[in-house]
Symmetry: D2
Subunit: 369 residues, 4 copies
């Protein structure tokens, strides 16, 4: 019942603190004979790495993953794949002065009440640093989905920064800028916005959109193992996430049934308001979800907090922090969706290997967003 | 790994189809010595029951729960509590004509691709009828939270119907009208809106807000067992849910860190933008979440679908359906939150029974919504 | 993490007490499209039923299973199969006089310390009555193994009663006598032995051997998901079990490696000391296990116990009890092995659907026992 | 559902191969504030280490554990504890010549059929090397049981080597000889026996007895979460185990009920035939179990095997192997029992924290063995 394991048949058990010696995970349930090497993990890790631009934390981590087990002669063996990433640039002394402070908007206060103490160095387990192992595990899933599941593809982009909404006119441009922005023309605007934030010592929220393409119909389950319920958990488990929407999300509240239902013709679906999931099960259309990330509370502007004895203190964060934590969540959101789909792929074939429907599989049609 | 079980230590395994002989569940992990009888389940079941007003399905179910085990001499024994609710008013023949139709916006198409066949009678397992067992199991949790966990209280209300936003000026009025509306003055407006929808043969979406009060700080876990992640899954697992927000939800995207972080003083929290959960763990403030429910696709207006052979068909739903499925989701949302909190209460004390923090627990302060 | 669920992908959640209104289970994870009706469960239930002969409890139960869900038009749907068996002949008043007694060798004392109270009527949850639901769930597994897994077959027999050891010269004779004895010539001897026990008011232990045939190589896992470890748990979870042996069992202690290792030639295995499992994974040979069942403590001979206040009491059991509980464990052992193998079949194909070894599968060869 | 995780609330996820770069585990669910350092793991690891005497494998491993996470300022934090043990002395080339051989009595054949390939170097995941991580995780449990659970103590010893049965007259002598023999006078006899086996190039089986003392009544559960069922799985999951007995084990078959039931008087239990577990729940008496370990198949005497193409080959093992793998299983059996009891301690208090029975807890009385 581990509180640190994600996935049922393809399961990742994560460990490690921001300022401990290493972080890592054990990935269990990966089918054998998948070609895999450390290089396969490095691409996605590089995208998430801090210090990539002036707009993310200046902590310098190499994030070099080491595969300790489960791969032999270049292929997975079917046994657990342990991945280790050493922490290189901890600088724990940055935190010495906040040892007794409980910072507003941080997990300090709740950790103290949960565990009776806390690791004051950079948030310990609550740090976004843990997301590196999600990205590493997700890279395995992404490879499996691509090679063994008929080419399922996952991508994500920044769809809103503060109040600036962003479309996705050039999907391939996402990796060309430090904002994971799919609209290159808007990049200067984002630069300006973040530059001004950094100057003000403040931070801002972000929305990320994540999509899976070429997913077959039939993944998921009707009740508590619903694909949408588990996707909501997967995305909400990312640090700083506060809301998740699938398909039209909160807009469905104001819709009529005649408008929302995605009609079907022999030529395919006519719309995708559902975001590719109906009744907890994939429809074969694009799976589309959005996540809202709050602005980080680690800012230079002083805020009111208390200390461990309950006294008032003024808190100022001077460490190396991201002005917008949502930016680096883009590859993390991709990793979580990849992980989830691979898990459901295995779960589906466990129970339904004999199934084949004689009903034709419809073309996916157009996404409505 | 059951796909039909919710909860880890307090676990509910659900069974039954809309038009089978019965629905029910097995609730495992309830501590012994809780006073419990069928009457304790009936109050919440009555609130969810169809046919309560002209604005919900006219199916007539008594929803009389029968406790088959786990209660002896009026108290729980610590062994599994099986709950059975017989289906009384199935009228399966209503569905005979749609036997081969795959209705737009329904789970017909995905069930066919998942299982190779489907139960065409009223959606089978995909029917909202299953939520009755969630409410029954949730009633046990609600009683335990109230009596054994220091008085944790759960309530929910309709916070938006179509584009009509609704506040919560009179929490106690929620059960006085069929809309679970906490603003009695707006009830006539809602009646009119639904009356016109019924006339048009269409349906509309809804937003439900659910709140837990008097939750102690410390429930939850930092990573995949996060309280917010599991709350997102719990709420998204309700039929027709498409989005979940915790605290300020999607509004955090446009917020600044200096604005979002909930400051603390020795007198308490100064705001509750976080919705009572930080770092995946409860803060002791009110837990506040919202869920968006899509408009049901079971409407009288004809829509384009296909049949099992892939041919175009026109689909019209003539059965007894709710013009707004979100209404009856109000007690279901409460049940899911109650269930989740009881589960986390047990999980917390398993690992942390020895913990006591010397830091004072802060007053909850005001909710920001 | 339910304490009342057996199996991971094919999972049975059991409920019900000996003297409550009903017992039953929810079977989750059964693949869709298996032909199934109540009649399929009845054959095995009849074999386990009390009152079959003068050598088992005279309680009269019809053990009529009712399938409440998960089967539609004669086939499984892939959703949970709920099975209900009403208790007919409880006679709880038999137990009124032992209400405050803690009987030696019974679970009374431990339940009191675990739960703070207990159901004194016939052992409540500790009663062997619960095994009826294992047999019902196991019957589904047996059918699936036979029809969808290449004809895997399970059988068990009484291999020792008291100090009388019994072989298996006529496997088909097992169901012809109330002892599940595969050596019909020895039946009169067993009758005499039990008759004399009944007269003496005492009970005796038994050993059951259970075998699975036509199991393919490759089911199981190397570590904690080992087929032998889970088989040990499955069999030890049957009431009154005190020991489990796989293959040569405790005899391996005195064996040499040169004697124990099952040699292989291109014609097949040369022996089966391992009992069909090596390294936690099936070899393709017969899986052979034995279980020891203790003599029931429900006997007419007075024994020393205490009451709930800690005072000495003399305990005499006058209810309707089996002089040898091990006898009726024969179909239960079969059910547990069937359940386990079906679970591992699904688990194997989840992870290894792509696997096919070019190495030939060896003939099973002879069992060494 | 990880196949490589042991325990439910106190869970150990294991990774690593015999000849990979490292082995290790992630221990999740350990309560916070337990004093812990690497030194706490080293004592038990030293007892299990190969190369301790001429009677165990001559592989030279330092087995130096490195705690990577979950411990801060000398105390557990409540977050996952990752333990890493680098492999130092692999000598994989020893295995080059058996690359295509499937050795009798080894997991080669079954791995090939399960995974489509195998790691031929020293058994890969099937190697007893993995048990080092069980011992490391078990050492945490042992410390917790001793310090936070009222002084629960675990010990084990060699109770049979080949056909030589061994008592336990001097429990403290167990660690004074390489055989974990509690009867020092018999040590020369064992030396002679093993010396002669080494000379003959053969191996022999062993039986290990493991005991837990000062366990309170009430740990366990009535059905599938039974303490005895999970203990059977825990011990049977150790490499080479073929049988498990609790209390009187297989001897119960020949016992009468009047003889087996452990009578109770106000002064305590009169015997312990049950081995400290009744109805799946601890009685407060010593928990006593025995495990049979087969003789290793890695011997110098040639045996018949096949190669990956199905051709006959003669197999001779020349690597560094234990003539009796059961010897080093002694600390492993202790670790598994410690792990299991800690897990059940946490599970018990999750569900039963409010329970307190007014019935006095009986003195444990004498063990019957």
């Amino acid at each position: 019942m581990s509180e640190n394991t994600f996935g049922k048949l393809f399961a990742c058990t994560s460990f490690g603190e921001s300022h401990g010696s290493a972080i890592g995970c054990v990935v269990d349930g990966c089918p054998p004979n998948l070609e895999l090497s450390e290089a396969d993990l490095e691409r996605d890790l590089a995208r998430r790495r801090p210090g990539r631009s002036r707009y993310t934390s200046q902590r310098r981590e190499t994030d070099q993953p080491r595969i300790l087990s489960g791969v032999f002669e270049g292929r997975t063996t079917g046994t657990p794949i342990a991945i280790l990433i050493e922490n290189v640039d901890q600088r724990s002394r940055d935190y010495e002065k906040v040892r007794s402070h409980l910072r507003p908007g941080h997990a300090d206060y709740v950790y103290l009440h949960k565990y009776g103490h806390r690791d004051h160095r950079g948030g310990g387990r609550a740090s976004a640093r843990e997301t590196a192992v999600r990205v590493a595990a997700g890279a395995i899933a992404r490879k499996y989905l691509s090679e063994c599941c008929g080419g399922i593809r996952i991508s994500a982009w920044l769809s809103q920064l503060g109040s600036t909404q962003l479309g996705c006119p050039q999907p391939l441009a996402v990796d060309d800028n430090p904002f994971f922005c799919a609209d290159p023309e808007r990049v200067p605007e984002l630069e300006e916005q973040l530059q001004s934030l950094i100057k003000a010592g403040d931070s801002v929220g972000a929305e990320v959109t994540v999509v899976a393409r070429a997913v077959p119909p039939g993944l998921g389950a009707p009740l508590y193992g619903r694909l949408d319920a588990e996707l909501a958990a997967a995305l909400m488990s990312i640090n700083a996430a506060k809301a998740v929407a699938i398909g039209d999300g909160f807009e469905v509240v104001a819709q009529r049934g005649s408008q929302h239902r995605d009609e079907m013709t022999p030529e395919g679906f006519c719309s995708n308001h559902a975001g590719g999931i109906v009744g907890g099960i994939s429809t074969g259309q694009d799976i589309v979800a959005r996540v809202a990330f709050k602005p980080t509370s680690s800012i230079r502007l002083p805020g009111r907090g208390i200390d461990v004895d309950g006294n008032a203190v003024e808190v100022v964060t001077t460490g190396r922090h991201d002005p917008c934590v949502g930016l680096r969540a883009v590859p993390v959101a991709e990793a979580m969706l990849a992980h989830l789909l691979m898990d459901h792929w295995l779960r589906h074939r466990a129970q339904n290997a004999e199934v084949s429907s004689s009903t034709p599989q419809l073309p996916a049609g157009e996404s409505s967003r």
